[in-house]
């Protein structure tokens, strides 16, 4: 459809991100994949080799790895739009809250990952994730990863990490300012002589 017919929004940021300190908006990422199917081969490769580097690079993001029976492996990204993003300590608390989630089961196959990095919470496919994890007040994005290689999956996940949770719709203007005018808006009386004293300037000039 045309840009006029579809939804649109103005350029904005989440909670003035970038003014004080840049904060990654991605708060939770979940990789759901199958342990044996051919479509999940790339995801399994990514989980074994690349996911720990991603989690180390993005300290503020919690990574969930969920092996379960599914035909289509997916990655679900959840963004925070209501978390106060200026303090580092608050973020740490947020991470710890996720880590101390009850009823967390670690599968033998992926036990080595839990030793490497404590933010990865690994759950068995039998447990319903929604019951154990607190909700995040932000946008959600789901991308299917079936028949993708580990490099392509890495690109998808990096893109999700670099995005804010705002809608991917047409952006009306490529700029946004709170202060559009500094020297004052133009009016017809700007740069014109005053009507009250037209002769004074000439008299002063003559003097």
């Amino acid at each position: 459809m045309t840009g006029r017919a579809t939804a649109s929004r103005f350029l904005q940021s989440v909670l003035h991100n970038g003014l004080g300190r840049y904060v990654c908006q991605l708060s939770r990422i979940t990789l759901a994949f199958s342990k044996g199917s051919q479509t999940s081969r790339g995801v399994r490769d990514y989980v074994e080799n690349h996911v720990v580097d991603f989690a180390k690079k993005h300290q503020g993001t919690v990574v969930y790895i969920s092996p379960r029976r599914c035909h289509v492996p997916k990655v679900t990204a959840e963004y925070c739009t209501s978390v106060f993003t200026y303090s580092h300590h608050l973020l740490l608390f947020f991470q710890l809250a996720f880590h101390d989630a009850p009823r967390c089961y670690v599968l033998d196959q992926y036990k080595h990952l839990s030793h490497c990095f404590g933010h990865i919470v690994i759950q068995a496919y039998l447990i319903d994730q929604l019951q154990t994890r607190p909700s995040v007040n932000g946008g959600t994005k789901v991308v299917a990863l079936n028949s993708k290689s580990a490099e392509e999956i890495a690109q998808v996940i990096t893109l999700m990490a670099n995005q804010s949770g705002l809608d991917v719709v047409r952006i009306r203007k490529p700029f946004h300012t709170e202060h559009p005018s500094i020297q004052g808006l133009w009016q017809p009386f700007v740069n014109k002589r005053s009507q009250l004293s037209p002769r004074i300037a000439e008299w002063k000039g003559a003097q």
Partner: protein
Amino acid sequence: MTACRMFASYTRMAMAACSLRGLAVPLLRRFDTVFLVRARLQSTQELPVQPKYAAITSLTQPPWKKVILPNPEEEILHHKEVIQQANTMISERDYGRLFAVVQFAARQWKVTAEDLILIEAPLQAECGDRICMEKVLLVGGGNFTLLGRPLLKKDLVRVEATIIEKTETWPKISFHYKARKREQRKHVIATPQTVLRINSIDIAPTLR
């Protein structure tokens, strides 16, 4: 009869003379007017040149005001005064919010602190990196403006920005279809975008 013939010849002469001069003279039939024509011809040859009076109309002068250029010596003094005032304002930090015109990503942006910019290109820097924009064409405050020719020097202005987001555009659909030919092609285009936040604009007091 002869007198009439003589006067007729005079009219013909008058008309011929007038036609030579390029004047359109109507046919003169009365004898007294013949004499008047003769008198007129004689008088125009003998009269002295008189000054012409042109009327003042709406087209005598152009509708815009006449430009009076200033005296060059006064101009030099005026320029020195302006530069000195600008220097004092900059050195005493007598300005509030500054704005700058910056050339970035093949476009020019009018930019202040704390504002957002969307660039339709991928940048090599990562999210969270701080960037200095080097091509500054203009910097201004409330009471003064510094114009570059075409750029200002790097030690004079510093415009810093942070990369806050690296996304893609909304999915634009390129659909080619030909009727009755079984030809169609659907292509979804999503080009990379970068969002920058301008952090600060600083002026150094080195204006000469």
